[in-house]
Symmetry: C2
Amino acid sequence: MRALASDPAARGLEDDAAVLDFGGENLVLTHDTMIEGVHVLEGQDPADIAWKLVAVNLSDLAAKGAEPIGVLISHMLGTDDHRFVKGLEEVLGEYGVALLGGDTVRGDGPRCWGCTAIGRASHDPVPARSGAKPGDAVYLGGPIGRAMLGYEALRDDTEADDTHYRRPVPQLCLGQDLAPHVSAMMDVSDGLLLDASRIAAASNVTLSLDRNLVLPLAPEGRLEDAMRWGDDYVLLCTGPEGLDERFPLTRIGKVDASGAEPLLLDGSPPEGDIGYTH
Amino acid sequence: MRALASDPAARGLEDDAAVLDFGGENLVLTHDTMIEGVHVLEGQDPADIAWKLVAVNLSDLAAKGAEPIGVLISHMLGTDDHRFVKGLEEVLGEYGVALLGGDTVRGDGPRCWGCTAIGRASHDPVPARSGAKPGDAVYLGGPIGRAMLGYEALRDDTEADDTHYRRPVPQLCLGQDLAPHVSAMMDVSDGLLLDASRIAAASNVTLSLDRNLVLPLAPEGRLEDAMRWGDDYVLLCTGPEGLDERFPLTRIGKVDASGAEPLLLDGSPPEGDIGYTH
């Protein structure tokens, strides 16, 4: 959406939620579209697709410290719509979110789904990607790479656990708890390295991460892949030292003044592709 | 979306905008998805697609008497994205609407686009489909059948005017002017007869339309088709007699107590299919 954001009033870009003052409160809006064969595997259970569709949008709200209010869903009809409805009921029930409306369409070819989620920010100012300051620490809200393992299990039809790929869990409570304390926050949807570089770019700083600190969060032997794989939907934030003593966070690096590189890994720019771009 | 609206908190169904109390104001939300080959012709200029995508959502806001605030756009990338951006800029500029965010995706097969529009209701209570009362008159905010003629011109590549199909005009000002005075309101997106029957069903009344009153609003010789064709996006409302003297409306019938049929045309149920269902 970056190329489309030519309107000066635009406050949100791709994958980042929009924040609007409405009636004296901060309204948070986000939209994600998923395409069969791109964002979900072909033939995947529509109940899991519905769950993921809503959960990834709630994760965007979590990164704003917002409490979700409701969703609008766009669903392309198929042969197994009851499974989609089932998954939708499950995810909406799990997070207490209302189905406000949406659209159903018919079409040929790969199916597509859309979700717009709206929420109410719990703290003002609303956390953004742009507030990281030199001297801050960098924190991660949970393990990475579990969605990657789940994707591989589902793709290869193995016995390994595929739950984290099929049914991501948005960190809504953690996001609200952190909102008053962080200087910048987002969710890891496209990979730790790529998303960290986005905070760096938005904040005009350098994020210096330490492999040894990230290592325990990644599956054994898969650190490099895990840092470049998306879909984990854990929160990534910056803030004062010591936040990891008060909240379930792991400190993985620090924020430096803007240097030649937005992102350093053990002092060097990461090699190769740093993440997943849709 | 009707089948999906199992959540008791759901207040909007397919094609109807949702209304939410937020910060003491009425927030109006609507979402429409368009599929290549279904809602727009294959090969149609993406600038027109962008215009229509936004305009049909603004029309939903118009039916709520809402002033638009912004949109989130989902765009499937193709070879002519600059045309999409151009049309988007045109429609957003025309109506003073902000691009708040959205998503860009890649996929094979027919392209799909989504738009979520948000607005602020100008009047409380917000007009709904459910308020029509026996004794009310039924009004239409403009001609019908012009989109049908435009579609045929575009499809058959004739010299006839195709503007009304390519670039519908949401009746935003009229909707805000009417909001304090109407008992029910919606926009004609799926055909006059089908949409009138929706007001009747939601209000538990019978809408009795008069062909002779609709006749001047339809293209010559095409009355029956025009009443069954969608995409005109003119407002359809009910309210006290005389509204057509104060606003640019045409009186096309009256509201009766609920009878055996939701919709009567010159006293009889309309024959055959009554409109376009996506």
